[in-house]
Symmetry: D2
Subunit: 430 residues, 4 copies
């Protein structure tokens, strides 16, 4: 039986390339995807999807690494000025920039597709050799650049939506398109999971462009996701004049220094690689004042969620004990996190099978990619798997101009339509 996809044509391809370029130009970093999410919502609404927006899909408590209110307000205002749709914008106010669109037909399983929307916090190259500059869609926003391909993911999501609507009758069950904020820094997925929108998913698909795989090739899944916890620890003590009354101080800098020494000393684990780093320490005010505040910027990692948890638990213990030693208040702020995980064999086989039918794809690997890094898709994967569902994180190859997270990153827009094609097949045949 051959699947005939209505609407998968040049017109759609042009449309999704335009989407991508629009998102690219108005790049928005994590939790500030106000304009992007508004455009996504507007498009999906126009197509006829049922929408859930903002706090319906983003749990406030579970968000990590959210910018402060002032920053959020500034970017909200920028989104407004850059043409965000007013109708939807207000739903995202305060950094709840998530969109979930649902389409149902007949009876059958619930299939989820995840798209991340945020840009990297960096400036895009302004070199004239850089294609986005040459063709006029380089980021015009300070400290925000689509240097990882999420603009492409979002465009594919919108293309998929259009195809699905055009082929609605072929759907058996429920389709959920999940547009997620703040994947960079692994900050957003946890809050989407916490909102409950993944609770009914039977099959979950994530997709990433590039990652070292060339255009025309694909991997059906991924393995070797590193679990990680990213958090800040703030010690608050009491200042005192270092000459006049040193005994009255409760020295936060000294507490932080002790914690640092002990954090790096957490015992190695026999079951696999672990990591810890204190990337920043900032403490103190005047030279002659006993410091009453110190901020540590920390991350732990582990080859598995258990190994990362071991590192995290030990770290918290040390921070707590040190706070006691130096009579400090301790504030731990979650800034990001991801789990370890494995794509399910069943869905990888499915992806392999459907991808193999796409003539534009010349080579489909049977094996998953070994990530060796972190992705917060793992929070979603873990949720679905714990509920008895299946998931996979496929890689759609794309020739890139420069490495991910570099100023001159760009991908091959020809690959976008193949992404739509693949996901549509998975949606309509699962």
């Amino acid at each position: 039986m051959t699947l005939k996809l209505e609407g998968l044509n040049n017109e759609l391809e042009n449309k999704i390339i335009n989407y991508r370029r629009d998102f690219h130009k108005y790049a928005e970093s994590g939790w500030t995807e106000f304009r992007t999410a508004s455009k996504v919502a507007e498009t999906l609404d126009d197509l006829g999807f049922d929408l859930q927006l903002g706090q319906e899909v983003v749990d406030q408590e579970a968000r990590m690494g959210v910018p402060d209110q002032e920053e959020l307000a500034k970017h909200y205002q920028r989104a407004k000025e850059q043409g965000a749709s007013q109708k939807y914008l207000k739903e995202f106010k305060g950094g709840f920039t998530g969109v979930v669109a649902t389409l149902k037909n007949g009876e059958g399983p619930t299939i989820g597709f995840r798209f991340d929307m945020d840009a990297v916090e960096m400036n895009e190259s302004s070199s004239k050799e850089h294609r986005p500059v040459k063709e006029g869609f380089a980021s015009i926003n300070e400290n925000a650049a689509h240097a990882c391909g999420h603009d492409g993911h979002t465009a594919i999501g919108l293309g998929l939506a259009e195809i699905l609507m055009k082929n609605k009758s072929k759907i058996n069950g429920k389709i959920k398109l999940i547009f997620q904020p703040a994947e960079e820094g692994v900050r957003g997925a946890k809050s989407i999971v916490a909102s409950g929108v993944l609770n009914d998913i039977d099959y979950l698909y994530g997709l990433h462009l590039g990652l070292g795989v060339e255009s025309g090739k694909a991997h059906p899944g991924a393995t070797g996701f590193l679990a990680t916890s990213k958090f800040d620890a703030i010690f608050t003590g009491q200042p005192a004049h270092a000459g006049g009354n040193p005994e009255k101080g409760k020295n936060s800098l000294l507490a932080a220094a002790t914690a640092v020494n002990n954090l790096y000393g957490i015992a190695r684990h026999s079951q696999g690689p672990t990591r810890i780093n204190v990337g920043q320490l900032n403490a103190g005010t005047g030279r002659n004042v006993i410091p009453d505040r110190a901020r540590l910027v920390i991350e732990t990692r582990g080859a598995t969620s258990e190994l990362n948890q071991y590192m995290y638990d030990q770290a918290i213990n040390i921070l707590e004990g040190t706070a006691h030693s130096f009579q400090q208040d301790l504030n731990i702020i979650a800034m990001g996190g991801a789990k370890s995980g494995e794509s399910d064999k069943e869905l990888m086989d499915k992806v392999f099978q459907e991808a193999s039918k796409i003539t534009e794809l010349e080579h489909i690997y049977e094996k998953p990619v070994n990530m060796g890094g972190s992705e917060d898709f793992t929070y979603m994967l873990d949720k679905v798997q714990k509920n008895g569902g299946k998931g996979t994180f496929a890689i759609l190859g794309s020739d890139i101009a420069s490495g991910h997270h570099t100023a001159e990153f760009d991908f091959n827009e020809k690959d976008l339509i193949n992404g739509v094609n693949l996901l549509a097949r998975l949606a309509l045949t699962s």
Copy 2:
């Protein structure tokens, strides 16, 4: 009015010199003064004093730095073999080697005199030039030598008892002679205080021989006692094979190392000198085993009790916090302590006045000695002063052969009878 002391004669002088030599030969260190206390009790009982012994005057909980049961038993057995009076010995079993003797006549204030009985934990010189060796009364006990003069203090106490009994009719009120164990390491006085036997004291006198003052001279009191806390901290964690399962260990050595770094870092105090020292750290077993036990031998000091308390509180806080950081059990064992303190002007004037009447004393200073060290007499002084009483710690000069706490220490026995004379005068005229 002249005080005529019955019995202050050559015979008594010889008797107290013999007492001193007996205690010196059978030297017993802190909490093991079984034979010494028995002899003291026997002598005082024979003289007709009311006695309180052992646990009546030594509070079990308040004792510090007590040797273990095996050590105590060994020394108890030695005391038996060295002629301790069986009748009293059993009262002191388990290290309750205190004696308080009371004598009452007429109405008047309660006057206390404190004598410490313990030897230093060291070996006495065996040099033929050393007078105790030449004259046959050098210590025959291992690791116990009267190198501080407490043998002389105890002998003075017994001489005083005899004079008081002979002059009982001149007493107006109550006299308490307090024979204390374990002054070395400042371990014993606290438990005497805790037993309550000082609760009714109006005037309290302590006396020390030597301390850099020559024979024939005396100071009426002392100032500048350093407050100190001596304690051990034991971390208990969990061992693990350092190669095979390092993550299973709870590293006591690492905890101890962290505590050491932080203890020395306790902030200086603006109100006066403070000190901290970790004199010993012993931790661990095999090279390839994560250490599950560490003992820290610690002392804090302060120019005042408040300053010492500051140091102690900070230290405990650090030890507790560190125990939390490394998931250790923490055991703090009090090993000794002393307070700061000042002799009362009123009693110093009294001592000055009475000492000035003793023709054998050629020079009495008006000012107190500045101790610059610790004495657990301060616990008693503090108790009496808090109850509204007065106290002083007088220094009776004595030419010494070598410094206190050295192997060749010896004092001039001629000074003992002057000590009896002085204290008797204070007892009968206060």
Copy 3:
């Protein structure tokens, strides 16, 4: 014999009050006193003094805590715009803002007077109740306020210069007026000393307004200066990806943390109070990068120069050892310093005697003030005393509106002329 001072009149008083208000309004902080020094130089030149300027009196190597070139250039430009005398300004370029003016007549000793010119790095109050605001001379410069009275000192110096010139014939010997930059943070005096301009001084006078002494009162000298060293330590290591290649990093943050723990643990000194503080620690860049740079902002103190030197030497040793442990480059940058010191009795008697002749001063203390803080005048005092000369640091009382170094600090301008009177007497009678 009565000294008759020509020119000590209302006109001069008004003139020095105007000087003071001018310096106050155009407040300049340490090493940026471009306009102030230019005005001082111009005035002294007009009066006929021999001038030494800039690098002649400020040794480049011995300067401490100098702002960076960009900062210096910005303030230089500001001075130009605020009316600095172009003729002299260029001499001070690059932060060499010192002026020494010499006047010679007859034969006799060389007498030095020191005036500090810098403002505090803080903003002045903008309250309408604040007199400088009400009367229009509050600082118009960001982060620079005369909140310590150095504007008054400089004005007194110019008043003294005018009197001296008018009474030149009464001078026997040589007078040197030393206008010093950067006393705040104890940064400037050392470089003046290093230039050699104090080498020939026989008598040296410093003077400070206020310091808790009321208008109409004065102290002839000061004691209890705390010695201090202020310095930054910078560790430079090597960055590495904390997940990918932790072994390739040379962790500056970890080095700094270790140093902090050890710096606070420097042993207390038996000879007197000492202090150490790490007021700031800033290290690291990204959360997942092993930090390759850390800056520690440190100060040591001691009751004497020897005690401070002990602390400093120990600190340097620790920093060096830690650099070795973690394979870091270490850069120690001197940021300030002062010595301990004592005013000479001979000069204090002289000040007492001359001050007592001034009818506007109602009470002259015989004793020096106990400073309990640091002043870099001590570098000059030390130099003169080591050469066999004498020095004193007198306090001229003044009612102040608010404490030194507070935003609403102001002093009583009536006291300025008394300062001129006193110093002129010392100059003409020493």
Copy 4:
């Protein structure tokens, strides 16, 4: 072609069992194998081998973890009393307990066989159920028990010697039998290598009994040896009275504590597992004395020699830096060490082939055993391989009564003769 081994009979089997039981009963731990080595030398001499003894085969400088002179003398005396051969004993005096025996015939390669002779430092079980007790050959020496099977290895070595001599004409080349001291704690092999006796080896065989492999089975080689360095670090500073002159101390305990914190903090390595442990720390004397000596008992490990070297280099660096920080003398004492390593395929094939011919061996694995621990045979292996030779470390299975290094360890003596058989075949056919 079949190899016919003269003398491989019951008589020999009984003889080697008796050897084994004799060594077992008079167990001697590392560097004190005086009696054992004497017996070995005597037997080999009687057989007609050329001998190299003591310092000829044990390089003094390269020895690690040698007991002190007193300990050595005590055990030397014991060996004498327990019947050591006087003729050879003196060669081993001072702990040079190595024997190398050489036999040459015709032309051909040089083949080495290594046997370790030392017992474990522990007491053997005295349970009546323990076979060595029942049959009267349990260790009669305190703190020395053959709980690892080295008694068996030595016995096999002597059995091999006898067979080789009886089949001398079949030898083509040179055979070296290397009897090594102190394998426990990986202390002895390095000194054998340093003596040069392995310089001419073309093929090197080591063999170990048991190691989890059952009787009748064998592995032809081993892999996964962990590299390790075992060393002590001693800090020597300066004592001082902690109350009186804390500034005069150079605190060794504080130095050690700092080093401990930093040693555990050595960065994890991306290329594989690493370990560090401080198994013991002992420092200090009196509670009130600043400690002037501290000993750290340390080990590093790595999956490869390079990884272990990384750990060791970092550790030394930290110890040196810390010594500087605290003005300590630092003494590093090598206590043991082993390299990583791999058996050569060529020799494993050879072992497989020859072992397969022994009918008493029912199963020969083709793959090497994964050690997961350390063996100082690796020093020899490394030397031979670096010279262009080959080596392997074969495992001869044996049913054991209890795990290696436990008090009730015992192996199946039936396996010894198979060991002789296998090694003889390797010697005569290589």
